[in-house]
Amino acid sequence: MRRSSFVVNLISFCRYNVMTVALTCMATFMPLSQPSLAQTAAERVARRVPDFSVTYEDATTHLRVIPGPRSSTLLAVTSLHQPERAILLPGYPGDVEYFEKAPGGLFLVVAKAGTASNHIYIVDVKAGRVVDHFLCSSPVISPNHRYIAYIKFFPERGVDEEQSSHFAMLYDVGRGDERQARNSTSDPNDVGRLLFPPSRLLARTRRGGIPVTHYFPSGFAWSPDSTKLLFLDNVFPGDPISNGALHEGNVRPSPAVPPSPAVQLILVDLTAATPTVSRFKTERCRDSVSEFCQIYLRGVRFGAGSLTVALGGPPSDRNPVKPSDFDLTIPYAHFTAQ
């Protein structure tokens, strides 16, 4: 007992002194005018990468995150029969959230950027480089790891409703030429293909002096075969096009419905050469607490001829097991093409 305690104490003593010597050396070589900066940077790295438990491992590849020099983050890659190499993840990323293996020997690295945005890195581990990198929100990788559905990036603060309107985007990792498919000339964040709203509706950005904006409250849901993508869209203000509600037991057709927050389900079919977008108007939502229609996509089940969605209010500690407000089973044929 005494011996083991002595060993433990010896190890602790050595670790402490080694760290002390290392920190002393660092302080020695740092400019005297900036001792606090060095400490701040070290703390920041420690906080941004709180632990190194985010790893990926299969038969041929092992990935892990390590803090890099200054404020950068490195991806440590160990490929089969090769020594570990480090790949720099640019753009000052926060915590790495997860890895996904993609076709073509690529890996997708999803890291935090701010409070509600993400960095996406497409990494070629064989070549040891980042093939592509962009910012986005709510990324969801398809089950076959080929597609990334996401909301186009916008700054998290200091933007108005128009600037923060949501655009559904698709990045096809398998194409390998998404950089060429982007819309603008050189913007690193303007990447991938626009899915929704359709480009022909983008011109109608204002209605009666009010900007028409979209908000996707629930993220994206992929079908198991990665051919369909579903998400919920709240429109501000209500889009008259979507007022032709599809429902059972029709009595008499509806006259014009006053503009209001509207909810619609958007279905993207990727089987065609060009993704086809269609939508299903569910219901005029009833305003809730903040006078804002809070309906969320709680679950999706893709069937052969139809899909079933569970829609409900946001979860909270007041209603942790709140049942779905309503379930809808919708034949695919009932989605109206754009």
Binding site: T115, F153, G158, E161, P188, N250, S254, R286
Partner: protein, 541 residues
């Protein structure tokens, strides 16, 4: 008296002797009711002895007794006339959506109409009247009659429209025998029928042409079916959620005819049928003159049972006195109190990146000076690479050499086509004079960001009444019901609309801080978060 709050006990004592002074206010119908009940009891004994002989006489006596006991009931086919009369019985309320399969809850009352199909005007039932877009109840295929049982309502009315597009005669018959009948067009001509008064147990609706019909757009005053007529001459209500002061002034004593009960403050959310009441104190027999200012239990957020004001849009404040069970007297005056209660709310903290706190490498950038695409000047400059990355994500940053800069995507320059080659959202920043939010005002430690912001709607648009809006006051309250802070809405927080950002709370608000850091999201939530939070719209009511 010892059990009363000090203010109420004092008032009660001081007013006790005045009771005799105001003796003339004693409600006569109650004592008269007792006498009539005795008469009816005696008559019933006689009825047992010689039922066949005296039955007609007893029925007449009973009818007479009821007529004398209850105030007369008014039946009308005019909405305007109904509203004038019903307003004397309490606050007018409207019901359009949320019909049950056979019953609808109207405040503290109910109407039962039997199993029926509910249709949506504009979708299932194309035309109605007067802009109404809510639900209606269908009498059913070929069904020309429908009986509606009334409970707990002091006034009630509804719109009726025949299914046929022709004009058909509709009859509206009360349980006391009164009725009204009129022609109603089925082509968007839904017409109003209603009554005001206590004691109506049911109504029967009949389409005299034998066709089906629908009814909806209900109007009512809830309360007890048997109630004491309010006799409060003057009273005044005021509310101040920030000071937590809810005031009622009672100017006249009120003899309750021997009943005892509680004084209760009511906050009502007419939109979501949320109803919050708090018993302020017990007052026996007399409603004493005086002014009462009391706090409400705004919150008591516990781990197990959240209490206090639930999330909702509370638009009315009123006061009532009543026994449970028993008659209730509600003040006629309803104070508009538009408070939006967000409930348990996560209060995160955000800042803008500060270049002086960053330690990246210098990187070339474009610095834009100007306010329009035409007069914009693009300068070559250098910013810390970490600062540039963080500012592009956050939207605004404080640089060492260029002052406050905004990310390209958050400015006018994003849509300019004359930007220089190589300029993009990651390396182009626009000089501005101050750190401003979506509202255009300078952000400080008392600024908050919310989602959404209803600022773009013009006056007259219903959405212009919604909140939060720029300039609204946000009140956060500790779990012990003391104020945490009051801040001002000044920015939009797109991420606050995502439920997974709420950390289990009902809502999410982001609080700006001037504390410096290199990253935009460097600070943890305000200690003690979540807080019960309300939008008080920065005014007293």
């Amino acid at each position: 008296l010892e059990s009363l709050p000090p203010s109420l006990g004092r008032s009660f004592s001081s007013q006790f002797d005045r009771r005799r002074v105001f003796h003339w206010r004693t409600i006569e119908p109650l004592s008269r009711f007792s006498r009539l009940r005795a008469y009816a009891s005696f008559a019933l004994r006689i009825l047992r002895v010689v039922p066949k002989l005296f039955a007609p006489a007893i029925a007449a006596a009973t009818t007479f007794a009821q007529a004398q006991t209850l105030p007369p009931v008014m039946v009308t086919g005019s909405l305007q006339e109904w509203e004038l009369a019903a307003a004397t019985r309490g606050p007018l309320r409207q019901f359009g959506d949320g019909f049950g399969s056979g019953q609808a809850a109207l405040g503290r009352g109910t109407v039962s109409y039997g199993p029926s199909a509910r249709l949506k005007v504009g979708r299932d039932w194309s035309e109605w009247c007067c802009g109404y877009q809510g639900e209606v109840v269908w009498s059913g295929r070929g069904s020309a009659r429908r009986r509606i049982t009334i409970n707990g309502l002091r006034a009630f009315g509804l719109f009726i429209e025949p299914q046929s597009r022709r004009s058909e005669r509709i009859s509206f018959v009360l349980s006391d025998g009164q009725f009204i009948t009129k022609m109603v067009s089925g082509a968007g001509g839904a017409s109003f029928f209603g009554f005001v008064g206590d004691g109506v147990r049911s109504i029967s609706i009949r389409d005299e042409s034998g066709g089906a019909f629908a009814f909806g757009d209900l109007r009512y005053v809830d309360g007890w079916g048997f109630a004491i007529t309010p006799d409060v001459e003057e009273h005044a209500l005021s509310t101040d959620m920030v000071k937590n002061a809810f005031k009622v002034e009672l100017d006249a004593p009120y003899d309750t005819g021997g009943y005892s009960g509680n004084l209760t403050y009511l906050l009502i959310d007419n939109l979501d049928d949320e109803f919050y009441s708090e018993v302020i104190g017990s007052i026996y027999q007399l409603w004493p003159e005086g002014t009462y200012t009391n706090p409400l239990t705004r919150t008591q957020i516990s781990d197990l049972v959240p209490q206090g004001l639930n999330p909702g849009f509370y638009d009315e404040f009123s006061v009532e006195w009543g026994t449970d069970p028993g008659p209730t007297v509600q003040t006629n005056l309803v104070r508009q109190a538009p408070y939006t209660v967000y409930g348990s709310t996560r209060h995160s903290v955000y800042n803008v990146p500060s270049e002086s706190q960053c330690s990246g490498d210098p990187s070339p950038v474009f610095i834009v000076q100007g306010t329009t695409c035409a007069n914009a000047v693009y300068l070559n400059g250098t910013l810390d690479s970490d600062f540039a990355s963080q500012t592009a994500i956050n939207g605004t940053g404080i640089s060492v050499n260029y002052g406050v800069v905004k990310a390209l995507a958050a400015t006018f320059a994003n849509s300019c086509t004359n930007r220089p080659q190589g300029s993009d959202t990651s390396n182009t920043f626009v000089e501005v004079t101050a750190v401003t939010g979506a509202c255009g005002t300078t952000l400080g430690n008392s600024s908050v960001a919310t989602f959404p912001l209803f600022n773009h709607y013009r006056s007259g648009d219903p959405r212009s009444q919604k909140d939060p809006k720029c300039g609204n006051s946000i009140l956060a309250v500790n779990s012990d019901n003391t104020n945490k802070f009051v801040k001002t809405v000044a920015d939009l927080c797109p991420a606050c609309g995502q439920a997974n950002q709420n950390n289990g709370a009902d809502a999410h608000i982001d609080n700006f801080t001037t504390d410096a850091a290199c990253e935009g999201g460097s600070f943890t939530d305000i200690p003690g978060s979540p807080f019960w939070t309300a939008n008080t719209r920065n005014d007293k009511k």
